[in-house]
Amino acid sequence: MIRVKFLAFAAAVSTLASCSSSWGWYVVNPSTTSGLNNLKFLVGGLYYTIALSLTAIAISITVGLVIALPGLASHRALRNINRLYVELVRAVPILVLILWVYYGMPQMTGLSITVFWAGVIALALSDSAFEAEIFRAGIQSIDKGQYEAAHSISLGYVDTMRFVILPQAVRRILPALGNQLVYMLKMSSLVSVIGMQELTRKANELVVTEYRPLEIYTILVLEYLVLILAVSAGVRWLEKRMQSDQSK
């Protein structure tokens, strides 16, 4: 499946490249020194894109879970805390949040923040509202009998969640969590506006010096494509593994 998509894309690109005279692939031609350096420069953003996205998703999943739990409580006040968080956070555009965290928050707290952590906080915060909704739906989809069985063997709330409910819920929401990771990888490009040296920023900088936006942004598109196809494959592999867990 992935290979087919990739081939189709490559074919489309090469067709475009061959039927138009405006392409100038020399900027990223790996057989020339400057081309190779440009390519290395572009791919060099991969580290921060991945580091930013993985750190942010790890935090947002944790925060999302913590926010999801009061959303399942029988107390209305607790459920309201969950609603308030989700509604507020979901209402702020990611780009606005990035600017606010990087430029605004240091004024409020008096503490300076690195570009990396500003990006992580903004991305994680924004994503956590969606993770919270995903977890809430996943946990709610587990049969009431599972709680009762756990209670009947004297498990408390924490053990019931940890050993009985969450393992089943996570299996069910795995595809949705995978989607969020894809989304996160794409949104991390916005952190380029505050100077994070990730893929998009690198491409922007190179465009300024080389004046070849078409080729450089095409490479950028390919970089994201490869990353995201790899994530999809990883999630699918994980899903399969978890299924065979239950049936071998």
């Binding site: 049969d143 069985a149 009947s152 063997i153 498990l155 050993f163 009985v164 089943q168």
Partner: protein, 250 residues
């Protein structure tokens, strides 16, 4: 029956339970002694499940008292955990943990709430899997087993908590007919070993065989409570007689 008992192991007095406006239990009182086997029957919606679920705190009663093994049941976590470790529960729908193997289903309770090591818990689990006659299925997942096997695993899972009392809520109602007897045989064996048990069921042949006391419920009330001989031959109430007629002659 049993030796003259000193104090009931379960003492239910004047329990009422409402779901919103609907009264599911009405002034229910019942005493059960150590080793006693009680079978509860009654029409659908009469409150049988609600009653046994109240005994281990899966439902909270609104008034009256429930005392299990000398302790009053309250809504506190400590009270709930304590009563649940004394009264095991087997459900109509088995409710096995689908993501865990049979062995892991059985060891979870002992390891997390009884402080057993993994090794001890596994030994205990194998012991009870042998009691329910499926030790060879220990590494399978629940959905790879037949309904009868799943329910026997569920019984073993409860037994691994080594409870003083076993509660069964229609343990054979979700089973195909040919699997009912393998589950009932396990329950009968358990009864013969002296386990105190309360079983909601409409399997009257089984009830005759194991029950010390038959309880008939209707509209949230205990209408009749008597030894099986009298219960089946000469029930006091009209309602009970009607009910028995219906289920025995169909």
């Amino acid at each position: 029956m049993r030796q003259p008992p000193t104090e009931p192991i379960i003492e239910i007095s004047d329990v009422n339970k409402f779901f919103e406006e609907f009264q599911a239990l009405a002034n229910v009182s019942l005493e059960i002694y150590l080793g006693e086997r009680t079978v509860i029957c009654g029409p659908s919606g009469s409150g049988k499940s609600t009653l046994i679920r109240c005994i281990n705190g899966l439902e909270h009663h609104d008034s009256g008292t429930i005392k299990v093994d000398g302790e009053y049941l309250t809504r506190s976590n400590a009270s709930l955990r304590s009563v649940r470790s004394k009264a095991g529960m087997v459900f109509q729908q088995f409710n096995l943990f689908p993501h865990l193997t049979v062995l892991d289903n059985l060891t979870l309770g002992p390891m997390r709430s009884r402080g057993f090591s993994k090794r001890e818990a596994q030994d205990l689990a194998m012991l009870y899997l042998e009691r329910v006659r499926i030790p060879e299925q220990s590494s399978k997942f629940p959905r790879q087993l037949s309904g009868g096997q799943q329910q026997r695993v569920a019984i073993a899972r409860s037994l691994c908590m080594e409870p003083k009392i076993m509660l069964f809520d229609e343990p054979t109602s979700a089973l195909d007919p040919e699997m009912i007897s393998e589950v009932l045989d396990v329950i009968i064996e358990l009864a013969d070993s002296g386990m105190t048990m309360i079983c909601v069921t409409h399997e009257m042949g089984f009830a005759r065989k194991v029950a010390d006391t038959m309880v008939f419920m209707d509209f949230g009330e205990i209408v009749e409570s008597s030894p099986p001989e009298r219960f089946f031959e000469n029930p006091n109430s009209e309602r009970c007689r009607d009910f028995l007629q219906k289920i025995l002659h169909h």
